[in-house]
């Protein structure tokens, strides 16, 4: 076998209280798409940060093309031919495409020349981009193109991609895979991070699986079943939600022709959104990130008021009522961002309980907070939802993402809502906790609540929803029953169709 492109030997990185990577060894070959697979917290991102020079390993070594490779900062990694496409945090909204690309390059050419190269390269790879567009106005898929082009302009030997498909429609995923295959054919290796098993089985030549910081196995995904991969990743089998009988009741939440302007320069306006959910039903709303998910949740929760007559809760118009009044009437919600939106990071779990449950749970007496009752309520949420925390007095930010998510969802469910609206209920949560949260949502529906789940995880939506609708640039499609939906239909609903034509042009 030929020498590998990159060989990792004994890579170890510890943070206080946690070993992120423990003696990890594997090779990435030339012309290879290599999957790095693992749950959240398995140590994938620490590993790639070491390869990209953002984090220094405590121990271990890397050899790139037969030479020692110890990047002390990303620019060194880039000089050695290693590029990275991030999942979050690496674009500048207020700057244009060319400026964003220039920032990721070591020696960018003159602006005009750079713009020309962006045009050429982006079209060559089927990812057309206008260099003078302001990045904040681009869709999630287009933003990813900026990152990919930024790497491609430096002719990388190794391209690291962190969960690239989480922001794409199925059709966009196809285009991306074509691009990646083309790159492989031209001699670029790709380290592809994901937890989506089917994707990896379609695309990747080799897969390395991490669990709790350790390498579990390196295998050929095409010869391994998704179930085997999943078990290696999770380390145990986990409960899938029980099938259930849906008995539908009256319409609990009805939204009619809701339009709202964008909340900020780079927000999404809601355009003529209509939906209705019955008691006992779960409505799943899919869509690529940034197509109005946050804005829809804010309109439903009451954070932003909407024109009179647009939102009806159990037959009453609540459009002009704020979050407190809507909660009193039985509409509870859970925003996507746990820290800072659903919960105040520096406040204790008890205080965060008061945040939404003050009135429904009778924690107030003449405006004074009954802290003992608040603590009781919090402890009830903690025990019912198996939130791992030292105590109810612990600050929210001290909890792991999964545990905090269980807490904020549990906090709403424990208040027995008539209608529950949640956005990304299992984002960044490990498989066991995600399963528990989904089960709790289904149980709530079974008890007669109407539920809206907004999520970018299509598998999740297919698993728990009765009907499915998609958000695209602030428009919501009609909801259709999930039974019998094909991935192509879903893709069209998510609005890939218009992007397609441009991309093939």
């Amino acid at each position: 076998m030929a020498d590998p492109l990159l060989r990792l030997t004994g890579l170890t990185k510890a943070y206080p209280g946690v070993i992120a990577n423990d003696d990890v060894n594997f090779d990435i070959g030339e012309n290879e798409i290599h999957a790095l697979l693992g749950e959240n917290g398995a140590g994938k991102s620490t590993l790639v940060k070491m390869i990209y020079g953002l984090v220094k390993p405590d121990r271990g070594s890397m050899v790139l093309q037969g030479q020692d490779y110890t990047p002390s900062e990303p620019s060194e990694a880039r000089q050695r031919g290693v590029g990275m496409v991030f999942q979050h945090f690496s674009l500048f909204d207020a700057l244009n495409v060319a400026e964003n690309v220039a920032l990721g390059m070591e020696n960018p050419p003159k602006t005009r020349e750079l713009a020309e190269r962006i045009r050429t390269v982006s079209e060559e790879y089927g990812l057309p981009l206008d260099p003078s567009r302001i990045v904040g106005t681009l869709s999630a898929g287009e933003r990813q193109r900026v990152e990919i082009i930024r790497c491609l302009l430096q002719d990388p030997k190794l391209l690291i991609m962190d969960e690239p498909t989480s922001v794409l429609t199925p059709q966009e995923v196809d285009i991306l895979f074509q691009t990646l295959n083309k790159l492989r054919a031209e001699g670029t290796s790709i380290l592809y991070i994901s937890h989506k098993l089917e994707e990896i089985r379609t695309l990747c030549d080799t897969a390395t699986i991490l669990r709790l910081g350790k390498k579990v196995a390196t295998c050929t995904p095409k010869d391994t079943s998704a179930r085997e991969l999943a078990e290696m990743m999770v380390g145990a089998s986990f409960a899938t939600p029980e099938a259930r009988q849906t008995t539908l009741g009256e319409v609990a939440l009805k939204v009619a022709n809701l339009s709202l302007p964008a909340p900020g320069a780079f927000g999404t306006p809601l355009r003529d959104v209509s939906l209705s959910v019955q008691r006992g039903e779960v409505l799943g709303i899919g869509g690529v990130a940034g197509n109005g998910q946050d804005e829809l949740l804010a309109a439903l929760s009451g954070e932003r008021l909407s024109p009179a007559g647009s939102i009806e809760l159990l037959g009453t118009d609540v459009s002009r009522q704020g979050p407190m009044a809507r909660r009193d009437a039985g509409l509870l919600s859970g925003p996507e961002e746990r820290l800072g939106h659903a919960a105040a990071p520096n406040m204790s779990l008890t205080e965060n309980g008061v945040l939404t449950a003050a009135r429904r749970e009778g924690l107030l007496k003449n405006g004074f907070i009954d802290w003992a009752a608040a603590k009781d309520f919090t402890e009830k949420v903690i025990s019912t939802f198996d939130v791992r925390t030292p105590s109810a007095n612990t600050a929210a930010r001290a909890l792991s993402g999964g545990n905090l998510q269980k807490y904020v969802i549990g906090r709403e469910i424990m208040q027995r809502p008539e209608v529950l609206v949640v956005n990304q209920p299992t984002w960044g949560v490990d498989a066991a906790a995600a399963a528990a949260i989904r089960q709790a949502i289904l149980d709530l529906a079974a008890n007669g609540a109407a539920i809206v789940v907004i999520s970018q995880d299509l598998d999740e939506l297919m698993e728990i929803s009765d009907r499915f609708a998609a958000l695209n640039e602030g428009r919501l499609t009609d909801a259709v029953p999930v039974a019998g939906l094909t991935i192509d239909t879903i893709g069209l609903m998510m609005g890939g169709a218009q992007d397609m034509e441009v991309a093939h042009a």
Partner: protein, 307 residues
């Protein structure tokens, strides 16, 4: 009142002089804010510059040295703000206020022995035939070097931010420090340099007050100029050219009200002397009502490179 006593040529000339200290401080603060840092200590840095510049100019007899020392002293003082906010992650608003209070205390301590003294001032430049032009020569071409330097600085800052790589990196850091960090840029180092630059500019502005504009040292002589510089940055939507416009507008109001007071206008003196501040409030209201655009997205947010 006698409006004819107001000479338009002198008026324009004195507007340029009165705008210069605020322009210097504001252009420096704009660079700091473009890097994503809100330094509310401009007033404190200006007054430190004013007193240090004055003291050095008196002791050396050289106003140029005074300016240099003022820039250095305020820049060093601003580094304390940098260390606190960037390395020790303190709250930028509170630390900026603290910087102002420290600067006010420090300056009156240093300045006590210099009260009532007279310092050498900057000579007017002789710009050959330009200075000899009728009207325009007196208005625009017979000032001291700092007036022109401050305008040149505006152009330099504009060009650097727009056309150079360091300018691009600075804007990127102010826009999204997490992304800049992920790309390997040294967020803290870049912000420290911006803070240092902002401090130096504020120091020059302060020294201009004590060495040219007034020219004397009195306690608390900046009288809110640093805060007005902060307001001008907002007014300018973080653009260099508009900072210059804002500073000159403000200089205009200040000079006009002084002229009106001198001319004995039939307006209460309290209103006239408060007019620069009222005008600043009005401008702020106008800008915010229109929706303040262009604020760097990371402005005032603390950055901590977690793993």
């Amino acid at each position: 009142m006698d409006l004819s006593s107001i000479n338009p040529v002198l008026l324009v000339a004195s507007i340029m002089v009165s705008a210069t200290p605020i322009l210097l401080a504001a252009i420096g603060e704009m660079v700091v804010e473009r890097a994503g840092v809100l330094n509310l200590g401009v007033e404190g840095m200006m007054i430190t510059g004013a007193v240090v510049g004055f003291a050095v100019a008196i002791n050396t007899g050289n106003p140029a040295l005074g300016f240099a020392a003022a820039a250095l002293a305020s820049a060093v003082l601003s580094l304390s703000f940098g260390v606190l906010t960037q390395l020790l992650l303190s709250n930028q608003v509170a630390t900026g206020l603290g910087l102002t209070l420290v600067g006010l205390g420090l300056s009156s301590l240093i300045g006590k022995p210099y009260e009532g003294m007279k310092s050498p001032t900057l000579p007017k430049l002789d710009m050959g035939f330009l200075s000899d032009l009728p009207v325009v020569g007196r208005m625009l071409f017979s000032h001291d070097l700092m007036v022109y330097l401050s305008l040149a600085l505006v152009i330099v800052v504009w060009a650097v931010l727009k056309y150079t790589r360091i300018g691009l990196i600075l804007r990127a850091v102010g826009e999204n420090h997490d992304a800049a960090h992920a790309l390997g840029y040294k967020v803290v180092r870049i912000r420290m340099m911006a803070i240092f630059f902002g401090g130096a500019c504020a120091g020059l502005g302060g020294a201009y007050l004590s060495l040219v504009r007034v020219p004397q040292w009195t306690e608390g002589m900046t009288a809110g100029a640093g805060w007005i510089a902060l307001a001008i940055v907002v007014f300018a939507s973080w653009r260099a050219g508009r900072v210059a416009i804002g500073a000159y507008l403000f200089g205009g109001v200040t000079v006009l009200q002084l002229n009106l007071q001198a001319a004995g206008a039939a307006v209460p003196v309290a209103l006239l002397s408060a007019s620069p501040y009222l005008m600043t409030i009005l401008v702020l209201v106008f800008i915010s009502a229109r929706g303040a655009h262009g604020a760097p997205a990371s402005l005032g947010r603390p950055f901590h490179a977690s793993a």
